[in-house]
């Protein structure tokens, strides 16, 4: 959580996370750059600059593929949630790898001419009216810009500055970036392949991303959060009190579309907004640890009674008034202002 902004608040798990991801990137690049030339044993090797450009480009693609698989995997199986925890570091690494790809391309294909490199990149091929021979570089530039924007705004400072909903919306750019990369590769290097192995792996990766998102969507439709049932006085029924496990919550969708999470702590219930103030993480899938609701995504914490982060942190989430009648939990769907104290209700 944020008190003051330091570049990265490190902890052991982040080191492990980055270590594995970095090892994956190093593994990819090392094999591509140093092992495969031996395997290929072409009579005359591919130019090192082209070989490097391909290595970093392909690496960035697979990194984006992994990044985009983590989300739906975590929705399908909660054990993947920790992979979400530090995903932004992997995203920043991806932007760096993609930028390296760009610079190899720019300083090779678009260098050595009387024209400025950047102008050459934009204007050498202007066959926008056709599919084969389309300036696929444009898709690459778009994707790179997206990745750079995402990397530049990845820090919590921007999250706070832009507010979580805006930040999240900006970060949906990753989907457009991925689609652009698929187009970039499909209209570029795939057009020339004689050996189709890469094409197969590439297409399989893209389908995995699409397939996992579809699966997660279907899963959520089937096992998604139930709608709250209208009751008297405009209140709504959320669930049976006995169904809420100790230190955990049940989530329900309110008529407004917002979600409420009702937590149990030692036979007392409290209701808060399900959306974490950090990145809208699903607080109701979190856990109460020492009286603090703890978000399953990055561990932001809120006092179960007031929705306030413990000092020195300042985040606040809305709370809800609730009641228990015949074992059924009722909630007033009108949220209290963020940070409003509500006395926990005895079951």
């Amino acid at each position: 959580m944020s008190v003051k902004y330091i570049p990265v608040q490190w902890n052991k798990n982040k080191w492990w996370y980055d270590g594995f991801m970095l090892a994956g990137v190093v593994g990819f690049l090392w094999v591509f750059l140093y092992v495969t030339p031996e395997i290929l044993s072409h009579e005359r090797p591919i130019n090192p600059q082209i070989h490097n450009a391909r290595a970093f480009g392909a690496c960035a693609f697979f990194m984006m593929t992994i990044i985009l698989c983590i989300g739906p995997l975590a929705r399908l199986d909660k054990r993947f949630l920790p992979l979400l925890y530090n995903r932004r570091h992997f995203g920043v690494m991806t932007a760096a790898v993609a930028l390296t790809h760009f610079s190899y391309v720019l300083n090779w294909y678009f260098a050595f001419s009387g024209t400025n490199k950047y102008e050459a990149l934009l204007f050498s091929n202007t066959s926008y009216g056709q599919l084969v021979g389309f300036p696929f570089e444009a898709f690459g530039i778009f994707a790179l810009l997206c990745l750079l924007i995402l990397a530049a705004t990845s820090h919590d400072f921007w999250l706070k500055f832009l507010t979580a909903p805006v930040w999240k919306r900006i970060h949906y750019l990753i989907y457009f970036a991925y689609a652009a990369v698929v187009a970039h590769v499909s209209l570029g290097v795939l057009q020339d392949q004689q050996n189709h192995l890469f094409t197969v792996v590439f297409v399989a990766s893209a389908f995995t991303v699409a397939g996992l998102h579809l699966l997660a969507f279907l899963h959520e439709r089937k096992a998604g959060d139930p709608d709250a049932v209208p009751d008297t006085d405009g209140w709504v029924q959320v669930c049976h009190a006995k169904d809420i496990p100790e230190a955990r919550a049940k989530i329900a969708v309110l008529p407004s579309g917002d979600r409420v999470a009702v937590f149990r702590l030692e036979d007392k219930l409290s209701a808060v907004s399900n959306a974490c103030a950090h990145q809208n993480g699903p607080l109701g899938e979190g856990k109460v640890i020492r009286c603090l609701i703890t978000c399953p995504w990055h561990g932001f914490q809120y006092d179960i009674r007031s929705g306030r982060s413990p000092a020195p942190f300042t985040e606040k989430i809305p709370t809800y008034n609730l009641a228990v009648r015949d074992g059924v939990v009722l909630v007033n769907p009108k949220a209290n202002p963020p940070g409003t104290y509500v006395e926990p209700v005895e079951v």
Binding site: G27, P45, I50, C59, F62, R79, Y85, F110, E246
Partner: protein, 257 residues
């Protein structure tokens, strides 16, 4: 009596706490899987690259200096009259400057004259090109006079193949052709590098033909849209020295599947 309170024992991960025991092995496997997948993808992507062919700068030949006669088509050709061990008299060389520029402006004042050309050879199979040094030492007037050989018309042909920039194709880049290289090829061609048509079927023994506009001018603008694509086209072929030249008819260009 109160009903017993439900327990949810799903392990709960909090980034700044120790990883719950139950999750540890799962996460370890996931981490190792990421590393393994990435390494495997690196292997597959790297090892499935196509052979870029044998085109190359022949620095190993050393600097080549030959004498010959300049013909402007308008891309300059050098018809060699006095060669050396590697470049025989009677051979016709396409010329290029360093980088993505041709030598038109340097060759123009020397049109039809005897010159000495000096530089590095680019070679890909039967295709070669001379990258001349800068200044008059790269391309300068020579003693004596001469005239380019009379060209020999070979009639109208319909050919299938690819328009490339002759320099990358000959080995300035490996690979130096194909769609992924199209923008680079265009940039070379805009810089007056001689364009070369790579025909799927040899014409009079050669699969490489220098390609010009219908009227014998430089590559027409419309042809740029088709660079690096597999196309068919028609045109008049003629022999200039030992080099074939195709004057293409842009109206006949068809994209092949």
């Amino acid at each position: 009596m109160k009903p017993p309170v439900k327990k949810d024992t799903t392990p709960f991960f909090v980034g700044y706490f120790k990883v719950p025991k139950k999750l540890r092995s799962f996460l370890l496997i996931a981490g190792v899987a990421v590393v393994a997948f990435m390494t495997a993808f690196g292997l597959v992507s790297g090892a499935s690259q196509d052979d870029p062919g044998d085109g190359a700068f022949r620095f190993d030949y050393g600097r080549q200096t030959v004498t010959g006669v300049i013909e402007l088509l308008p891309y300059p050709l050098l018809h060699v009259t006095e060669g050396n061990d590697r470049i025989k008299p009677g051979h016709t060389l396409m010329l290029t400057a360093q980088g993505k520029s041709g030598v038109f402006s340097r060759a123009e004042p020397l049109e039809g004259q005897k010159v000495t050309a000096s530089g590095i050879i680019l070679e890909r199979g039967a295709l070669n090109m001379l990258q001349v040094r800068g200044g008059a030492r790269g391309l300068g007037p020579a003693e004596g006079s001469g005239a380019p050989p009379v060209s020999e018309p070979l009639g109208r042909w319909k050919l299938a193949g690819e328009i490339c920039d002759g320099k990358c194709l000959a080995g300035a880049m490996r690979p130096g052709r194909g769609i992924a290289h199209k923008a680079c090829a265009n940039l070379c061609l805009l810089g007056d590098i001689p364009p070369v048509f790579v025909s799927t079927k040899p014409v009079d023994g050669s699969e490489f033909l220098m390609i010009l506009g219908k009227d014998g001018g430089p590559l027409p603008a419309i042809a740029y849209d088709y660079v690096a694509q597999f196309i068919s086209l028609e045109g008049d072929v003629s022999r200039h020295g030992d080099l074939l030249v195709l004057r293409m008819d842009p109206a006949t260009i068809e994209v092949m599947k």
